[in-house]
């Protein structure tokens, strides 16, 4: 067995198989991961899934002035930063 044949049979072919397995393993997480990374500036319009049907658009005046609205005391929730 020549040196080139040895390299192909015992190094190149196993390395190729390992690379293919690694690619197939990593592909789903690449597809799931969004293109946006937290910490980047959010430059486009906000996304709101399940927005109030009657509003049709985000009430920017209320958002920017941060008017909490009625019933603030009865509401709950939690806050976190990362």
């Amino acid at each position: 067995m020549s040196g080139a044949e040895f390299a192909v049979r015992f190094l190149l072919i196993p390395a190729t198989i390992i690379a293919i397995i690694w690619f197939l393993w990593a592909l789903p997480s690449w597809l799931r991961r969004s293109s946006f990374r937290p910490g980047q500036a959010w430059t486009s319009e906000p996304l709101w899934v399940g927005a109030p049907a009657e509003s049709g658009a985000i009430n920017r005046a209320a958002l920017e002035s941060a008017t909490p609205g009625n019933g603030t005391d009865d509401r709950g929730g939690a806050s976190a930063r990362w």
Binding site: L31, R32, R33, S34, S35, F36, R37, P38, G39, Q40, A41, W42, T43, S44, E45, P46, L47, W48, V49, G50, A51, P52, A53, E54, S55, G56, A57, I58, N59, A62, L63, E64, S65, A66, T67, P68, G69, N70, G71, T72, D74, R75, G76, G77, A78, S79, A80, R81, W82
Partner: protein
């Protein structure tokens, strides 16, 4: 009435791909099916932090007491959960704190969509309750 996948209103969000938005829509619809709570997800700037999240929640108007808003500000790395007065019966503050913990673990790893979906799943798990016949309908 919580939105279904078809009814869910989606406002812009060019930083996210269509598949990302679809995952959030599916999670919102799935958790509503599981526990009956009206979940909503906002991703964008929250200039005043929690006050901004409360202002968004107020836009639900008459539906606000039954609504649960999950708001994420990726730019300032902050997340807020606001529960309506009636929704707190099933999603209490401890459940919200648990959900924010599960969200932060993914968000800090850079997985924005995964963090939102994990948070919704945690809230849905905590909000599950046995249906009481004839008395479980929203007012």
């Amino acid at each position: 009435m919580a939105p279904t996948i078809e009814e869910a209103q989606v406002l812009a969000g060019e930083e996210l791909r269509t598949i990302d938005v679809t995952r959030i829509e599916e999670a919102v619809a799935r958790e509503h099916e599981r526990c009956g709570v009206d979940f909503s997800v906002y991703v964008g700037p929250l200039a005043e932090g929690r006050e901004s999240a409360l202002a968004l929640h107020s836009q639900f108007g008459a539906n606000a007491p039954l609504a649960v808003l999950v708001a994420v500000d990726p730019g300032s790395r902050a997340t807020e959960i606001v529960t309506g007065a009636k929704a707190r019966r099933w999603v209490d503050d401890r459940a919200c704190a648990l959900a924010t913990l599960s969200m932060v673990s993914s968000l800090s790893a850079g997985d924005l969509i995964g963090g939102i979906c994990h948070g919704l799943t945690t809230l849905g798990d905590q909000a599950r309750h046995p249906s009481a016949l004839h008395t479980d309908l929203p007012e």
